[in-house]
Structure formats: C-alpha cells, structure tokens
Symmetry: C2
Subunit: 206 residues, 2 copies
C-alpha cells in the first residue's frame, strides 16, 4: 500500500479494499477511488447498492451449480435443452463462456473448483455428490470441459475414470491451435498436441 499522508480515512479504506481486487494495484486503486469520489454521489451509491445485494440475488442452481437467481438455473429449467447431456466445467463463469459460443444445447455441471493436490483440493471439496446422483439417474453423455491446465486435465481424467463403467459416452473438449492463432506465437505444447491430434481431411469432401 502506497502511503499518502493526508488521505481522508474513508477514501483510504475504499482504496485499500479496491486494491485487493485481481489486477488492481495500489496506484490503480487510488485512481478508482478518486474517480468514485469525484463522480455524482448517486452513481457511487448505486454501485454500492448493487454490490450489497449481489450475493443475496445471485446464488447457484441446486442441481448443477450454475449461477441462478432462483433455486434452479435457466439451463436446468429449459425444456428445450438436452437434459441427458451434461457438460462438466470448473467455474460458473465457464458456463457463460460456453453459452457465448452458441454451440451447446445440453445441461451443465459446475464443480466449483478442480482437483489440486498442491492446494489440498480433493474430490470431496468439489460439487461431486450431485453429479454422482445425476449419472446414476441416467446420462447419455458427459463432456469434460475442465481447463487445459495440469490440474484441469487431472480433473478430467479423474471423472473419466470415475464414470468409466456407468454406461455413458465420455468426451473431452478438443485441444489445439486457437482460432486466429499464428504458429509463430504458439507454445510448443499446443503445437505438439495439435499435430498429435490432427484431423484427417477426407478427399471426397475437398
């Protein structure tokens, strides 16, 4: 925390709290605090009110763990979605990213974390029992959409093994060169994976 002699304590408190946000250092926090003080009181009060009610208004779906404003999320509640296909993700925000791709019409299951031996996160810390119940009730496909990190990959493997004999199709989202990716700037692991998992182009379709 940069110390400013003479900074009013209430402003100092706001700046200190803002500086705990991700990517916000002491200088940025000061800039944000001054901005919030310099704008009309009503605007800052509106932000305060929205923050105050954020946790009350936004909870998690009882079935799948997605963001939900009522007991069930809009995906579990939507009869047009394929209920027997479940996409497994780590965080609620991952669902927003999946939805933005407009490529998926099934249900979700949010783990609220991923296996991480280093951080002491085991299966029991994840949203596991609810998934066991859904698998037992009968699923057609489980799409493992955990992140492409070491822990995300380990988590995907864990669930693939766990439901190996449950009689459902298990798949993992593809890894490779991201859209717009130039080989020049790609790391070697991504390129190696993209080569390993290359897709045959059928001559008939060319």
């Amino acid at each position: 925390m940069i110390h400013f002699p003479g900074m009013p304590a209430p402003l100092g408190r706001v700046v200190e709290m803002l500086s705990t946000l991700p990517g916000v250092g002491p200088k940025t926090a000061l800039r944000l605090g001054l901005n919030l003080l310099s704008r009309p009181a009503g605007e800052t009060a509106a932000l305060a009110a929205s923050l105050k009610s954020l946790h009350e208004l936004v909870g998690f779906c009882e079935v799948c763990g997605c963001f939900a404003e009522q007991g069930f999320c809009q995906y579990c509640d939507d009869p047009k979605r394929e209920a027997r296909t479940v996409c497994l993700v780590e965080q609620p925000v991952d669902v927003l990213m999946m939805e933005r791709s407009h490529s998926y019409r099934g249900h979700y299951h949010v783990l609220h974390g991923r296996l991480s031996p280093v951080d002491g996160v085991g299966p029991e810390q994840l949203n596991l029992a609810a998934l066991d119940a859904r698998v037992k009730a009968g699923l057609k496909e489980l799409i493992l959409a955990t992140s492409a990190t070491v822990d995300g990959e380990a988590t995907a493997h864990y669930f693939a093994r766990r439901y190996r004999d449950a009689g459902l199709v298990i798949s993992r989202i593809a890894r490779g060169v991201p859209e717009g990716g130039e080989l020049e700037y790609l790391d070697e692991h991504t390129l190696s994976r993209a080569l390993d998992q290359r897709i045959s182009w059928d001559s008939a379709s060319l």
Copy 2:
C-alpha cells in the same frame, strides 16, 4: 459491453457499472465482478458500505477546497503551517502528491479544475472567489502548481496576471528532467525547457 447470454442480471449490473471506471474495460469489469461474487459475502458488503458512505464522509474544505472530513481540512487547521503561503493546484489529489514529497509546509488552494476553452471551463467554473478573498486578506506567496499541460500552463498564467498587482510573490513550480529521467527517453519539449531554464552552478559551491 460484451454480451454474455445467461449472465445473472444483478451480476450484469455490477459489471456494467464497474466498466465505467477509468481503465476498466468490459473484460476487466467481468473479472472484478466475478471476483466480488466469489469472495465471502461480508467482504463485498464491506466494500459496498464504504462506497455508500464515501461521499457523506469525505467533503471539501470550506477555505481551500482540499479533501476534508469536517468543515476545515487538516492543512488549514494546522497552526504549524505557514498560512500566508498558498500552493495553487488543480485537484484534491494533487495535494496528496504534494504532501508525499514532504517538501511543502504552507497552505493549499484547490481550483477543482483548470481553464479549458475547449471544454468550456472559464474562471467562473473554478474555485476562484475563495482565492480572491484569501489574496485580499493578505498572502505572502502564491505558488502555481497547476499541471505542465497546455491548459495547466494557461491556468497558471491566468492567475499570475490576475494577482499581478496584489503585492505578493508569485512563482511557478520548476519544469525539466524528472528524477531518474534518461535523456534517451525524454521528449523534445521537456529537454528544450530543461536547457532554457538551466541553473548556474556557482564555482564556489563545487
């Protein structure tokens, strides 16, 4: 605003308000909003409470326009400070910067802006009458510490002319190479000014 289908409306409102902060784009705002939602409700509520009371608790000094938690700021209230020397700055935050330099023991006067014909800011939009009164009551020195921009320089000139015949010493903070500045990375205007206003080094003091 990046549109996320399925984002809960209360979270969307927070993200939208956060994205109006300086230097915070839609992606950063989403990241901040998700962080505020994922941390304990009490922490977010504490930030909300601090923001709510910010404008109520932090006002401006009736005399000089600095930040003040009561009617008068700590500088005007401090009998050890030289009351007849006034440093003229644009914004309350400039006072914090001046104080951090530990180089000034006089009083301040905050204009709450600077002359800007382009933005339609004339003298009457600034904290002017109060300064007139202070000059009339008898000042010894007025230090013009407005910014080293075109508008800041014009503002300094305006006040230098305004109080030309008021019988007080008027000075302008020095401009030149900033501490740690390497000539290689300096703009030509700064270097030109630093050359023009070079300081003679008395051989006796070397």
